[in-house]
Amino acid sequence: MAVADTTDHHDHDHDHHDHDPFIAHHFDGPQQQFDSGKLGIWLFLVTEVLFFSGLFVAYTLYRNHHPEIFELAHHHLDKVLGCLNTIVLLFSSLTMALAVRSAQTGKNKNCELYTLITMVCATIFLGVKAVEYSHKWDLGIFPKYGFNYTPGHHEMGFLGLSPYLIKLSAIPALLLASFAGASVMGKLTDKPAQFKFFMGMAIMVAGYFAGVAGGVVYQNAVDSGHAHLAMSSSPLQLHAATFEENGQHHSHQHSDQHSEGQGHEGGEEHGDDHHDQRHEGSGESMPKSVGAFFSIYYCMTGLHAIHIIGGIVALAWIYYRSQQGHWREDYFGPVDYVGLYWHLVDLIWIYLFPLLYLID
């Protein structure tokens, strides 16, 4: 993207002796630079949309070919956690917009604060996502090939946490330690800029653990609330007749949400738990074909999470530059560009959430 530092680092004499350090020498002025960057980021967003489009096409095809798989499988996604993440991301879009506004008016302090909040939202999102992923892996819900659903199976690790979650959290933990260390080092060696920046980074990573904590507390509550079920009911079974009859399943062991599709159910008993028990005694686990849904789920949400991480890196750069007080009324392009990117990442989630979590 349009990086504003001077691009001219050769010693050839030329007629730009005293030009603005934030306006690259090959541009005529700030306006041209801003326009170029803006068009560039929009084009980049176009490529991003197309990048995701392949997965959306795959989703559409498979849902068309195997609606029953999607119907059955999506009950394993927790609507509450998904909804929480949606709210977190929407809120981060708000703070991002405020950050852009602050940069436009040259208020670097405000921009710094809003950028930090945005980053914390992003890491909370990732923390919740990590809980969701690890919980599925605990149950053996992997992409197609490794799919081996065994309900109620929980291998406990440290503090009763999922071993997968602990592995996932290793890198954030390392990051938190190093950022906190770097911040303390900055304080000790009297480098306020370093102290401030890494303090922000540490707070940002702490958001991940906040997300994890919230997710785990919720998940444990759900699990214990339904423990008797998870133990007693046999797993869901893909049963063609079941789906032809009523196409709608509302109950499962993780979520007791009801959606507006109740009208279709006719006389079907749809309370919480009884539904699962219909299959009691069948002794079969969820068919492997259901893994196709989770293949797509992991690809889409995984790619989205990678984009979130990319966004955090870009936001960290914005955060640093806000602390340096770089933004002025005629120079705020980078905040604007990162903001647009961030809104796109949010927007993709706005599509993913209903497509994956709210199928019926």
Binding site: T7, H10, H14, S36, L43, V46, G54, C299, L303
Partner: protein
């Protein structure tokens, strides 16, 4: 009107230029100068060309005799795959845009650089990374035998280095996106004052159309290849029929990129030809806006025809019919260009130097390549010709006869600008003749073979095809020698050729208003914006022995502007 002093300052060969203003490998490795990046790209794609060209010659040598046994069948498969993959992903796609385009595009706009110079350099390094990854398939992956198309399900099953290669192609895709995005923004925001869209040289229109494709199509390839890698490592069951996947979906995704990519390859070549034909006829390009819009039309139509690669893959007949019909419509903008070039030649003062000969070769070879495409776009004949040497000959006429010829023509055209030195035109013309003859001898017999049923990608063949294969192999070596000779002529000229002036060919587009080689900042003096096809705007200056814009000419010696001729 300018004094001789100003004239000399602007147009004479400068002491310092972009090549020698800074020294040392770091000044190249970390340069943000579009001209140096263009030159580095040129070196890179040329290495890829020679590497993949050697693969091609090995293939042709193997085929020279019925069951020659020179390569094992497995190695033959790996060889043609690498030839295709390296040629397509590492050579042709970046060749004209990233090498020539990078050098010429900002100068044609009168700009100092592309909009995002760092991204430009990143594009080059991604190219290196991607190509290395592709070649790692040979070193660590035990070769690659899927064909450059990586069709599933075979690409999922094979033990060869599919992951290396697809990851390489994925990275190369980003390199291509970076170039395209940069060019789109540069053309949009950095044109000279007064340079409207219809005063852009046609090369820029074609690069712009190419960039649209690069930006819109390449991400789809990126996600497809990632899904293929995920399929191979995690068996996600999207493409693999064993897990309920759909292998034809891969073909759809792949060709959704790779068919537009065909136009990424040919559109810049068409742009080069538009410049060359006009300059060496010294005549305004005929039908400027038609050529300009036909580039855009090709770019857009190119997105709607991918299904014609899958006529025999079992898609629904109605879809096949629609794809076939749209395929035929692509012939219209292509033909518009060819007829406009021919009309430009009409009554022009044609100079048959090396670049012009390459341009004329292009028209002939592209004509054949395009017309044989119609046989393949027609449903009935395609059933017979599908997957035969006819297809191989068809796309080589377009890719080699088209793009490579245009690349060489463009190099001969802009070489004096890039290095400030003139090549030996006689030797250049001989190289062009060798390329032209060698090319036709190589690929014409392949049309005949293909029509008679010789399938492509086979290591062995029916003995009745031997004579055709022998002619083809002979031609391939002539072609190889021709290309090598062109390169030798050019490289020799870059170091030892006689100095040449800023505008030896009397071209009117803005890049020729810089000195040769250009200054680090491209122009010492803000170039005057004039019509890129108004050749009378350039007048000969005896003192500098080159053409300069009228505005700078000595008013006493200024020839009168000829009356405009209406055709």
């Amino acid at each position: 009107m300018a004094t001789a002093e100003i004239r000399n300052k602007i147009f004479s060969t400068p002491e310092t230029n972009y090549l020698n203003c800074t020294k040392g490998w770091k000044s190249w490795a970390f340069t943000l100068d579009h001209k140096r990046i263009g030159v580095m790209y040129l070196v890179g794609v040329s290495i890829a060309l020679f590497l993949a060209g050697i693969f091609a010659l090995v293939l042709r040598s193997h085929l020279v005799k019925f069951d020659s046994g020179m390569l094992s069948y497995d190695n033959y498969n790996k060889m043609f795959t690498l030839h295709g993959a390296v040629m397509v992903f590492s050579f042709i796609i970046p060749s004209i845009p990233a090498a020539l385009g990078n050098f010429v595009l900002p100068m044609m706009l009168g700009a100092k650089d592309v909009a995002f110079p760092r991204m430009n350099l990143a594009s080059f390094y991604l190219w290196i990374a991607g190509t290395s990854c592709l070649l790692m398939a040979i070193l660590f992956g035990g070769g690659l035998d899927t064909g450059w198309t990586f069709y599933t399900p075979y690409s999922i099953e094979t033990e060869t280095g599919v992951i290396y290669a697809t990851f390489g192609a994925f990275i190369l895709g980003f390199s291509s996106i970076f170039t395209g995005l940069n060019f789109l923004v540069t053309v949009n925001t950095m044109r000279s004052p007064g340079q409207t869209w219809f005063k852009l040289p046609l090369f820029l229109w074609s690069l712009y159309a190419t960039s649209i494709i690069q930006v819109l199509a390449t991400p789809v390839l990126g996600i497809t290849l990632l899904m293929l890698i995920a399929e191979k490592t995690m068996h996600i069951g999207i493409f693999d029929p064993r897990y309920g996947g759909d292998p034809v979906l891969f073909q759809h995704f792949f060709w959704f990129y790779s068919h537009p990519a065909v136009y990424i390859m040919i559109l810049p070549a068409m742009g080069v030809i538009s410049e060359l034909i006009s300059v060496y006829s010294q005549k305004r390009i005929f039908g400027y806006s038609f050529i300009a819009f036909s580039s855009v039309a090709i770019a857009l139509l190119g997105f709607l025809v991918w299904g014609h690669h899958m006529f025999t893959s079992g898609q629904s007949p109605i879809v096949t019919l629609i794809f076939s019909a749209i395929t035929f419509t692509v012939a219209i903008p292509s033909a518009v260009k060819v007829f406009n070039w021919l009309a430009t030649l009409f009554k022009g003062s044609i100079l048959l130097n090396t670049p012009m000969l390459f341009a004329l070769s292009f028209i002939f070879l592209f004509g054949i390549g395009g017309l044989t495409g119609l046989f393949l776009g027609a449903l009935s004949t395609d059933i017979h010709l599908h997957d035969t040497y006819f297809v191989v000959a068809h796309f080589h006429f377009v890719m080699v006869g088209g793009t490579l010829t245009a690349l060489l023509g463009g190099l001969f055209h802009w070489w004096p600008k890039m290095f400030g030195r003139m090549y030996n035109d006689a030797l250049g013309r001989i190289s062009c003749a060798l390329v032209f003859i060698g090319f036709n001898v190589t690929f014409f017999p392949q049309f005949v073979m293909g029509a008679r049923g010789m399938p492509r990608r086979y290591a062995s063949y029916d003995p009745e095809f031997q004579i055709f294969h022998q002619i083809s192999t002979f031609g391939a070596f002539v072609l190889g020698i021709g290309i090598l000779m062109a390169y030798v002529v050019l490289v020799y000229a870059a170091f030892k050729g006689p100095r040449c002036g800023s505008n030896p060919f009397r071209a009117a587009s803005m890049e020729w208003q810089s000195s040769s080689p250009p200054d680090f900042h491209n122009f010492i003096h803000q170039p005057t914006m004039n019509d890129p096809y108004d050749f009378d705007s350039q007048v000969y200056d005896e003192e500098l022995d080159t053409f300069i814009p009228r505005e700078f000419a000595d008013p006493d010696k200024l020839p009168a502007r000829p009356e405009p001729v209406h055709h």
